[in-house]
Symmetry: C2
Subunit: 185 residues, 2 copies
């Protein structure tokens, strides 16, 4: 029902869509944040599957990474209303924190292990995972609203940023300096 109705679906709508009255809906699922929580798990599973399937076919690490990013975007795009509904929590709320934690969980273990291999503090994996969750969330949200720029270009650009960083572009002699960076809120 949410898939049809979009992120503005109200609890009455959802109850009606399920041919059920509100108290029953509430007895079944708890409250709205529990519903969002449950749906976010399901969406994350879906994304995981898409990501894993996509990256499995690649041969080199970078290719796999790019495929993973593409898998994420494709999965979200295929279920955009669910994505928007699940992302209806504002940053700063508990619900947001839980969502980010859940999304980051599997990345954290990967990064943690990888960082150990190159003698980096494994604790930094949390920040990395958060950053990537945020980057993907915002990029995808903005892209969805801009209604369908080129998906391939998006995937390429984001992959490049996350894989190689800004250094190769900004660090080069003669280029713009990082001092001009003015990231906002």
């Amino acid at each position: 029902m949410i898939r049809a109705q979009g992120p503005d679906a109200t609890m009455d709508d959802i109850a009606a869509g399920a041919s059920v009255t509100k108290p029953i809906l509430y007895r079944t699922i708890g409250d709205k944040s529990a519903l969002v929580s449950a749906l976010s798990e399901s969406l994350i599973d879906q994304i995981d599957r898409s990501v894993n399937t996509a990256s499995r076919s690649a041969t080199d690490p970078l290719g796999a990474f790019e495929a993973a990013i593409r898998g994420y975007v494709v999965a979200v795009d295929a279920d955009r209303n669910l994505f928007l509904f699940v992302n209806s929590a504002a940053p700063g709320t508990d619900q947001f924190r839980r969502l980010v934690d859940r999304s980051a969980a599997s990345m954290i273990s990967v990064f943690s292990a990888a960082r150990k291999n190159v003698d980096l503090d494994p604790d930094g994996a949390r920040a990395w995972a958060w950053a990537i969750v945020g980057a993907l969330q915002v990029v995808t949200t903005m892209w969805l609203r801009d209604d369908e720029r080129d998906l391939d270009a998006l995937v390429r650009d984001v992959s490049q940023l996350l894989w190689s960083g800004l250094g190769p572009t900004l660090g080069g002699r003669g280029g713009a300096s990082a001092r001009d960076l003015t990231p906002g809120a």
Copy 2:
């Protein structure tokens, strides 16, 4: 008033805080989203100043970049209630889009120019800026809630990710493969 009361400040609270009644508040500022919009501009200015001041003292590009990231986090930390209030828009709303656009604006021109210098399509600058806005927003939000882990570690980790990317860590032989990545929503 918002600074004291936090992101849950209601319009009644704000009006009361300003020793004014609600209709006056509304006649003055329009509506809540206009208030958020105005405050976001002011916060972004504040962050810009902090970022620029910080990065100006660095000598090499990477140092400047790290200083910029630190400037961002420090500015947000110094005004965390305003940050949370301004970030009370859920992803997917128009308000969120405007905020991201505003935050990304100054980065886009820098990246666009830098990308031209290294023969990359300048259009990709938008995606890069979005990604960085998202990464910083989420990282900082999560960090604020976790109440004061080590700021230096956070800045180091995030800078490294955005500057050098995951490649050096994940790409190395014997390390974990990107195929294990399962980013969530």
